[in-house]
């Protein structure tokens, strides 16, 4: 809602009608894939009551991210906090170091196998509802590092709601990821751990 770009509605899927305006939803002929299989399941979950809508609005507009800056993407995450790319217009400037008080885990940077344990611990300590943004190429898929030490995608250990591509993604790109996340929540899409399940 913050950017309010009115894209031409090419798709009449329920998700598009609910307010999600990302490319894969609006242009359903882009190609088959895991995403399309998943949204079939999501669309059954749509159609939320007014109370749930209010709750979703509150959740989206005051999400507190967790300080999980690992590497270069953390510097761009810090710059989205700064005054030019103000994240506090979304109510998110209060980065919480304690995972108990955080709603959103922005994994920014390459995750090594050694760090995977602490990452999972932090995720587990967050209280539901919680969302995860995999920021950057390294968090989404291992990035330019396909070797013995980098986890090839943080979605191997935590369920990810939004992947933001880039190396590092510009603050505007991260902002688009956050806006999409807000759209998802307000549309009634459950957080990723309810759709994908969480590896134990």
């Amino acid at each position: 809602m913050a950017l309010a770009r009115k894209l031409p509605l090419i798709s009449d899927r329920p998700l598009a009608n609910a307010g999600l305006s990302s490319e894969r939803v609006l242009m359903p002929n882009k190609g088959p894939g895991v995403f399309e299989e998943e949204i079939d399941g999501i669309e059954d979950a749509l159609g939320i009551t007014t109370v749930e809508k209010a709750v979703a609005w509150a959740q989206a507009n005051s999400m507190w991210p967790d300080t999980f800056g690992l590497a270069c993407c953390a510097i761009e995450m810090m710059s989205i906090v700064s005054s030019r790319y103000d994240i506090s217009r979304f109510g998110m400037e209060r980065f919480s170091s304690s995972p108990r008080q955080a709603d959103l885990l922005i994994v920014s940077g390459r995750v090594t196998h050694k760090m995977a344990g602490p990452l999972r611990q932090v995720y587990d300590q967050m209280l539901e509802p919680k969302w995860v943004i995999a920021m950057g190429a390294c968090a989404s898929s291992g990035g330019m590092f396909n070797n013995y030490t980098v986890l090839q995608g943080v979605d191997k250990i935590v369920p990810v709601d939004i992947h933001v591509p880039g190396c590092p993604p510009r603050p505007e790109a991260l902002m688009e990821g956050i806006v999409r996340l807000h759209e998802k929540i307000k549309a009634g899409v459950p957080p990723a751990y309810m759709i994908r399940g969480v590896a134990q």
Binding site: G31, P32, G33, V34, H113, K114, G142, F145, N146, N147, Y148, T149, V150, Q152
Partner: protein
């Protein structure tokens, strides 16, 4: 002020190249050589301590450098694209110590000691305390044991990791890339 490197204990040979001097030193006398360089030649700063694994060196020919800024040197065999094999190295591992003299007459030098797989070398922490983590990293990545190191444990990899990643016979690891649309 030109400094001569005669008198370095255990000096096997001196190699020059690209404006740098490399002192190849007998691995058994490395602490003597380093103490001499620190005390007599005033190399008070250990810049870097890094091993190199030469397993597989010279096993394949390389065409050599075909071009250069000023044009090809027509007489060097490498410049005509003929395959040449690099000169073989004495042993498998080279431990390089990059030294620096912080003073009004600065200078850099590289000390090199050669080791085979399984050979140990003495720690130079008594000479420069900064060698601590460098030697731990060398042990972690290459498996080179530094005798006398007070805390030779894994530093970059997990404590229970097996294998030494930067060795040439250790695989790069990683996963094949999955493409969407494939099963």
């Amino acid at each position: 002020m030109t400094v001569t490197y005669d008198g370095v204990p255990g000096l096997v040979e001196t190699v020059g190249g690209h404006g740098e001097t490399t002192l190849v030193v007998d691995a058994a006398r490395i602490v003597e050589a380093c103490s001499f360089l620190r005390d007599e030649r005033r190399f008070n700063f250990l810049s870097d301590l890094t091993p190199t694994d030469y397993l597989g060196w010279a096993s394949r020919g390389v065409a050599g450098h075909i071009g250069s800024h000023g044009g090809r040197d027509m007489h060097a065999p490498g410049s005509q694209g003929f395959a040449r094999v690099p000169d073989p190295k004495p042993k498998r591992f080279a431990v390089n110590y990059h030294l620096l003299r912080i003073s009004d007459d600065p200078e850099r030098v590289r000390v090199q000691a050669w080791l085979d797989d399984g050979e140990e070398i003495d720690t130079v922490i008594p000479v420069w305390p900064t060698a601590d983590w460098f030697e731990r990293e060398a042990w972690d990545m290459f498996g080179i044991v530094f005798r006398g190191h007070p805390n030779l444990v894994r530093i970059l990899m997990e404590d229970d990791w097996e294998g030494h990643p930067l060795r040439k016979d250790y695989p790069i690891g990683g996963e094949p890339v999955r493409f969407s649309g494939e099963e």
